[in-house]
């Protein structure tokens, strides 16, 4: 039989109810239109209390689902109440009961309020749009600062108002947690980190006695086996639990408890607080040995998957020091140049020196690691130790041989030694090793960068005589770098020709495509990235920015799907951010800039590409002081490691920074850079900075009057930079992100301007005089900081006032109507014709009227 709603949460009985504002606002709106509501939140969020309080004066029907079906199911026609509350809906599994509930949802004039600890079930989610479902989640039920204050006051606890934000944050607005804080504060304890820990402990006890014991055994086992891991895949869950029922368990957890969330790429993670609870529970139920065994099993799984940082973390937790050492040695053996040294550096640095000295492989790892983190002296010390080891006859023959191989490898690959003098080393390697049937470990040539010229090593010197070097070195390089040689020479020649502007676009394109194909069939994906890098740059200089982005995006997609290619992703992300800069300082670039760590506190040379892109972002964001420091830092690295190409690239940007800072040294910096770059005839490295560097070059024109000799290079750079500046006028340009406030009329006019309508057409459509329209135009240009119609259109697109494609495609008036609706919502409109006196976006002089 139906019953009157009387379910009241504990804290509602003992004290007055503190409303969660957001939840109540949603409830009010839903009630007005009889929209069904679903409360989806974990235990203790006050779902039932909120429902009870909100409907306390209404005649409601409460249906209970705890047993899997609806306990009492009155015939629909006989229901007199207009509000039906479905409690504990997470348990509902009976088909008939589900159909009953679905029927209720479609009855006009009846509001159904569902309360669940799980997610929105599939049978409701499918109808969500049709029935106009209103979701109320934990976010809506969370108590804000004021509500926490009221809650504590209601408990009779007086708190310093300054503490409220801290308590609200620590409790995350979770009413159960606030209640625990109230208990502690009531006993006169001062608020402190220790209290936070004590509250966690209280909550764990509450969950343990109130919720955990209701879980099935198989779910408890599942949770305890996996709680020590940040995330897990289905495969990992099967491996760890030894059960084939994990899919079912995950489904159960998601539907009934809302404890797991899905991460991208098909992995799962426990909610952080729940995970912490299970770890707490595990410590009480399991022995130390069992916990260590669990960690060891997890580590083995990560190791199988090649996730070395996680494998090491968990082996360490398991106390398996030998396994840690074995992994570090294997990493050195299998990935001598690209091993995850930097991510693993703490483990390498933690190894006792005497243990490292026993292994030529580990010594070589330390030698490489120190070079990567800009400590070349220490790197050389380890090199000497390997050499000393190799000379000592008392060491085992096999290990001395290993030491010789490692030394030869390091001779070629150590980053701080640069590429100078590398040919005699190659010769020595061929004479000493290959003739004796010994092989060196495979080495990466690209350093995971979209370039070969400034890849693993700097090959600027070879660019001077690229075709001949390519001819003479092709066979030795193929022999030396193995699979990495597929496509290498072809792409390297294309890049060299491209950088020097000495190869037609067609030839660069053809060579890159050939190189890509070659690398894609039996070669390395790193080499494909180098080809993609050159191809994209080629498209950029041809003014085909969208094509460049497409190439990069589709390659990124391929990398994400390719096993063993994830090491490329950070630099692909940087490359995409760099491409986005050609449209101005985009959100993408801003987010990237904020994500890249501070080079001064955490830098390895593998980060150089990301840092160079960050430097450009800083310039675009007008953070010139920060950019200046970063460029100075990178300069030191590029000079000491003989990275000529990067040095030139950095010096171009340094000159731009100084110029924008108003520092007269920019010219000296620019001229020195030009002298260095002209020695290699590198044109693109300068000209690709287009709109950023063009004003500087223009000011130096007088110094290079003659167009022959030294002047020839300068004028070539200038002309190429000009083309870039014209194609991408917003590249590294600082665009203030102020709010542009347009009147309704200005919004209308701007929309028509962007859609390509003529002045006559606009004045006719708007029913205003030509003179009046000119006045609107002037105001629009002023507010947008634009000099003319073209700039106004561009600024409007940058600020998201209109869709850029709409302008580029030259949509007619119909299209304008279509885009209008969208941007009318985005632009904050003010009263009609109140143009005068608004904030001025920029001062670009007198606007020029209608150029279209």
């Amino acid at each position: 039989m139906a019953q009157r709603c009387c379910h009241v949460a504990l804290f509602y009985i003992v004290m007055s109810y503190i409303k969660a504002q957001k939840a109540f606002e949603k409830l009010k709106k839903a009630e007005a239109i009889y929209a069904p509501v679903i409360f989806s939140a974990a235990s203790g969020w006050g779902k039932s209390a909120a429902v009870s309080y909100f409907y306390r004066r209404k005649n409601v029907l409460v249906l209970q689902c705890r047993s899997g079906f609806i306990k009492e199911q009155p015939p629909i026609q006989s229901i007199r109440q207009s509000i039906v509350i479905v409690e504990d809906m997470q348990y509902l599994a009976n088909d008939r009961a589900i159909r009953y509930l679905q029927s209720l949802l479609h009855i006009e004039g009846m509001q159904v309020v569902m309360v669940t600890r799980g997610a929105v079930p599939g049978y409701i989610a499918g109808e969500e749009m049709d029935i106009g479902l209103v979701r109320i989640t934990e976010k809506d039920l969370a108590l804000g600062e004021a509500e926490v204050g009221a809650f504590l006051a209601d408990c009779g606890v007086e708190v310093d108002p300054f503490l409220l934000p801290a308590i609200a944050e620590a409790s995350r607005g979770y009413p159960q947690a606030v209640r625990c804080y109230a208990n502690h504060l009531e006993q006169g304890e001062p608020y402190s980190p220790a209290m936070q820990e004590a509250v966690w402990e209280d909550l764990f006890h509450i969950w343990d006695s109130g919720v955990y014991r209701h879980y099935t055994d198989w779910f408890q086992d599942f949770a305890l086996e996996l709680c020590r891991y940040d995330s897990f895949t289905l495969e990992m869950a099967v491996y760890m639990t030894g059960s084939q029922r994990v899919t079912e368990v995950i489904e159960y957890s998601r539907e009934q408890m809302n404890q797991l969330f899905c991460l991208p790429e098909g992995s799962y993670a426990f909610r952080p607080e729940i995970r912490r609870f299970y770890c707490w529970k595990q410590e009480r139920l399991w022995t130390d040995a069992a916990i260590r065994e669990n960690a060891r099993r997890g580590a083995r799984f990560y190791e199988m998957k090649g996730d070395l940082p996680n494998a090491l973390l968990h082996y360490e937790k398991a106390g398996a020091t030998q396994c840690v050492k074995d992994i570090l040695i294997r990493n050195m053996r299998e990935n001598p140049g690209t091993g995850q040294y930097v991510e693993l550096k703490d483990y390498y640095f933690d190894l006792p020196e005497e243990e490292i000295e026993e292994s030529p492989l580990l010594m070589a790892g330390m030698c490489m690691l120190y070079s990567l983190v800009l400590q070349p002296e220490k790197s050389e010390q380890w090199y000497e130790r390997i050499a000393a080891y190799e000379r000592m006859p008392e060491h085992p023959r096999e290990r001395r041989r290993e030491a010789r191989i490692r030394l030869a490898y390091l001779d070629i690959a150590l980053p701080h030694r640069g590429a100078k003098g590398i040919i005699p080393i190659f010769r020595k390697v061929f004479v000493d090793f290959f003739s004796q049937g010994m092989m060196l470990p495979e080495m990466s040539v690209t350093g995971n960068l979209p370039s070969l010229m400034s890849g693993g090593l700097d090959f600027s010197e070879w660019s001077k005589s690229d075709t001949q070097i390519a001819k003479f070195m092709r066979v030795p390089v193929e022999k030396l770098v193995g699979q990495y040689s597929k496509g290498l020479v072809t792409i390297a020649l294309a890049e060299s020709g491209f950088e020097k502007n000495r190869m037609s676009s067609y030839e660069v394109l053809t060579r890159c495509n050939d190189g890509y194909e070659s690398a894609a069939h039996g070669g390395k994906i790193e080499m494909c990235f180098a080809a993609v890098g050159v191809l994209s740059r080629l498209h950029i200089i041809e003014g085909q920015h969208p094509s460049a982005r497409r190439i990069c995006e589709s390659f990124a997609e391929k990398v994400r799907k390719t096993e063993g290619a994830r090491q490329l992703l950070p630099n692909i992300e940087a490359f995409e951010a760099w491409l986005s800069l050609f449209s101005g300082f985009t959100d993408r670039a801003r987010i990237f800039m904020e994500q890249v760590p501070d080079a001064f506190s955490d830098f390895s040379i593998l980060d150089r590409y990301r840092q160079m892109v960050k430097l450009r972002c800083l310039i675009a964001a007008q953070k010139l002081e920060e950019a200046y420091s970063l460029a100075g830092f990178l300069h030191g690295y590029f000079v000491s490691y003989e990275r000529t190409f990067n040095r030139i690239e950095n010096e171009v940007l340094q000159a731009v920074i100084l110029y924008r800072m108003g520092d007269a040294h920019w010219k000296e910096c620019l001229l020195q850079m030009l002298e260095r770059a002209s020695g290699y005839h590198f044109v693109r490295v300068v000209s690709m900075e287009g709109a950023a560097v063009y004003p500087l070059l223009k000011e130096c024109k007088a110094l290079f009057k003659k167009r022959d000799g030294e002047g020839e290079y300068f004028w070539e750079v200038l002309e190429e930079a000009q083309k870039q500046a014209l194609a991408y006028p917003d590249y590294l340009r600082f665009i203030p992100q102020e709010k542009v406030v347009l009147t309704k009329r200005e919004t209308q006019v701007l929309s028509m301007l962007c859609a390509g309508l003529s002045m006559d057409e606009i004045s006719e459509q708007c029913g205003i005089s030509y003179g009046g329209l000119k006045k609107h135009n002037r105001n629009i240009y002023r507010k947008l900081g634009a000099k003319n119609r073209t700039e106004a259109e561009r600024r409007a697109a940058q600020l998201g006032l209109v869709h850029r494609n709409a302008q580029l495609n030259g949509f007619g008036y119909d299209a304008t109507d279509r885009i209008w609706g969208g941007y009318m919502n985005e632009v904050e409109t003010r009263g009609e014709d109140q143009g005068a006196g608004w904030d001025v976006a920029g001062t670009w002089g007198e606007p020029q009227e209608d150029q279209g």
């Binding site: 004479v431 005589s465 092709r474």
Partner: protein, 74 residues
């Protein structure tokens, strides 16, 4: 023996003079150069290639522009 280009000069190392002579004798095709150097040194194509690559790297500033005959001067 010296190489000269514009106002720059560079002395040719003794061990490289024979390569300059080989080029001066008209061997300009790269494959033929490798073959000749290989024969002269009694080594394989890899070492010959490396010898020539070293030569090109050492004198790159003099070889990168213009024709070889114009650059070489004794």
């Amino acid at each position: 023996m010296w190489l000269e280009r514009g106002e720059s000069r560079r002395r040719i190392k003794d061990e490289d003079i024979w390569i300059v002579r080989l080029m001066g004798d008209g061997t300009t095709d790269d494959s033929e150069l490798i073959r000749q150097v290989s024969k002269q040194m009694g080594s394989n194509a890899i070492l010959a290639g490396l010898t020539l690559a070293q030569f090109v790297e050492d004198y790159a500033a003099f070889l990168s522009e213009g024709t070889k005959s114009r650059v070489f001067e004794v």
